[in-house]
């Protein structure tokens, strides 16, 4: 039986997903608040996996929480911290607890996070992790041994449409699809004309594409991303627009911009949906959706 998220993807409706970010520690109140607020408004909630290589409550625990609260979790899994044995085991665990969507990522370098001396794993890469999901679904583990009780997943991966150079990124994108990715979330896109060019290419493949929307919270935050986040480019006119917001109004301006982009993507049918990353301000996803007319 396909997951609710998979059904939504296949229905052809405009998909909207968001994030629920586990915190550092066992206090889950903020995450629960976001889940409560958003679970019935979105098609899936990504639970991030030690985002930016900062150690936190695990994504699997968060995904189970989303499930228990009646939401539809999308388990983010990076290859940074677990070898193939641990990754497979966590996939078994997830499926056994009703978590049937997984987003396979490489993971940021350990050096970018808060445990800079930890041993990086990267036993598998993201395309190999997608392939591992498909292998488990066939009732066998990666070593070819039979499983007693199988798994089912809707598996996705990511792409960076604004990577420079783009060609190696597209080759990897195609490998992820060949490995069995059913949906692709993109890194944040801000330049719709560039994104349309990417979609002209991506449309030739039978995969659902969700455009990444990162909420801009201020002009300095936009400049910071341009300088520090690989593959993210906020065009100058959007930075100027953020800077033009009245004092205390930058966040509302960011919500307006995110809403406008989502509306354009939907109205022009640029891709299949959006993945909204409000990065700590998940409660604003409701306002972004309202600004998008959703």
């Amino acid at each position: 039986m396909p997951s609710a998220f998979k059904k939504a993807l296949d229905s052809g409706k405009f998909i909207i997903t968001c994030e629920a970010a586990p915190g550092k520690g066992t206090n889950l109140e903020k995450m629960k608040h976001h889940i409560e607020l958003l679970k019935d408004k979105v098609d899936g909630m990504n639970v991030t996996d030690h985002q930016s290589s900062v150690m936190r409550y695990p994504s699997l625990g968060g995904a189970i929480l989303v499930k228990e609260m009646g939401g539809e979790p999308i388990l983010q899994m990076t290859c940074r911290d677990r070898n193939r044995m641990a990754l497979q085991a966590d996939l078994l665990f997830a499926s056994s607890r009703g978590v049937h969507n997984v987003l396979c990522l490489t993971g940021d370098s350990v050096m970018l996070g808060d445990h800079k001396e930890a041993k990086p794993v990267f036993d598998l890469d993201s395309s190999q992790l997608v392939a591992a999901v498909r292998t488990l679904e066939k009732g066998r583990d990666m070593a070819g041994n039979e499983l007693d009780g199988g798994v089912r997943f809707c598996a996705g991966a990511i792409v960076t449409p604004e990577a420079n150079p783009i060609e190696p990124q597209l080759i990897k994108f195609e490998k992820k699809l060949e490995a069995g990715a059913e949906f692709i979330q993109t890194q944040a896109v801000y330049d719709m004309e560039n994104f349309k060019k990417f979609m002209e290419y991506a449309r030739q493949f039978p995969v659902k594409i969700l455009a990444g929307i990162i909420l801009l919270t201020s002009a300095p935050m936009a400049r910071f991303m341009n300088k520090n986040v690989a593959g993210v480019t906020v065009p100058q006119d959007l930075i100027d627009e953020m800077a033009s917001a009245p004092k205390g109004g930058a966040l509302n301006k960011g919500i307006e911009i995110a809403g406008r982009m989502i509306r354009q993507i939907k109205e022009e049918n640029i891709c299949d949906g959006v993945h909204v990353m409000a990065i700590g301000k998940e409660e604003k996803v409701v306002d972004i959706m309202a600004a998008a007319g959703l």
């Binding site: 050096m111 890469d125 993201s126 960076t160 990577a163 060609e167 990124q169 080759i171 990897k172 593959g231």
Partner: protein
């Protein structure tokens, strides 16, 4: 030429390692560490001065020609008396040299350097790690560039999302291996090799610790 690339340990760490040892003999090496200026004659002299200022007695110094050579023990025999007077040997060579000396001399050895990697000289005074001796070489399909080594994450199927204008997400002075591989294969008209899915690697091509013996005739 390949070289053992080293970096001097912080002074505080050397001080801690030498704690309680008042008499020190210092050994440098005339090969890699002389080239990289981490354990040649000038560095050994500077270390002698620094330790003396900190109240240590330096019983002697020497710079052996090739510390990792098995002849090093014999060469150190020439300064046997000075070594005998020392509580420890402070060794300003790579770890291959330190271990060679440790095996031959009955003395505590203290490395003054950290050994970083085996580097290929890629330009004047520039060394890069291009092989990590993994035991399962895949560069026949990557245009002769090793992603296991040259990619920070050792990815074998293409770049991660951290690739940034041809540089790595951890350091914008380090090239993105997959940009280099793409460019090389593109030049060769062999991008098909990059499109090929690579299975998960065998990480135990030669289980650590590596061992090899020339087969008997």
């Amino acid at each position: 030429m390949i070289r053992s690339i080293t970096r001097q340990k912080p002074a505080e760490e050397i001080e801690r390692l030498l704690d309680g040892m008042g008499r020190i003999f210092i050994i440098g090496c005339g090969t890699c560490v002389t080239l990289t200026r981490t354990g040649g004659l000038p560095e050994v002299e500077a270390m002698k001065k620094s330790l003396s200022e900190k109240g240590k007695v330096v019983t002697g110094t020497t710079v052996v020609p090739v510390a990792c050579d098995n002849l090093t023990g014999e060469i150190l025999g020439e300064v046997e008396n000075q070594i005998k007077q020392a509580d420890a040997l402070l060794i300003m060579t790579c770890a291959y040299g330190v271990q060679t000396i440790a095996r031959q001399m009955k003395k505590m050895v203290i490395p003054a350097l950290d050994t970083l990697f085996i580097g290929k000289e890629t330009g004047a005074g520039e060394f890069n790690e291009v092989c990590s001796q993994c035991g399962t070489c895949i560069i026949g399909e990557t245009g002769g560039i090793c992603p296991v080594t040259a990619c920070h994450k050792g990815l074998v199927n293409g770049p991660c999302g951290g690739t940034n204008n041809g540089k790595c997400e951890i350091d914008n002075t380090k090239d993105c291996a997959w940009t280099m591989i793409y460019n090389r294969l593109s030049e060769l008209g062999r991008l098909d090799a990059m499109r090929k899915y690579q299975k998960p690697r065998n990480h135990l091509g030669e289980p650590s610790p590596g061992k090899f013996a020339i087969p008997a005739e």
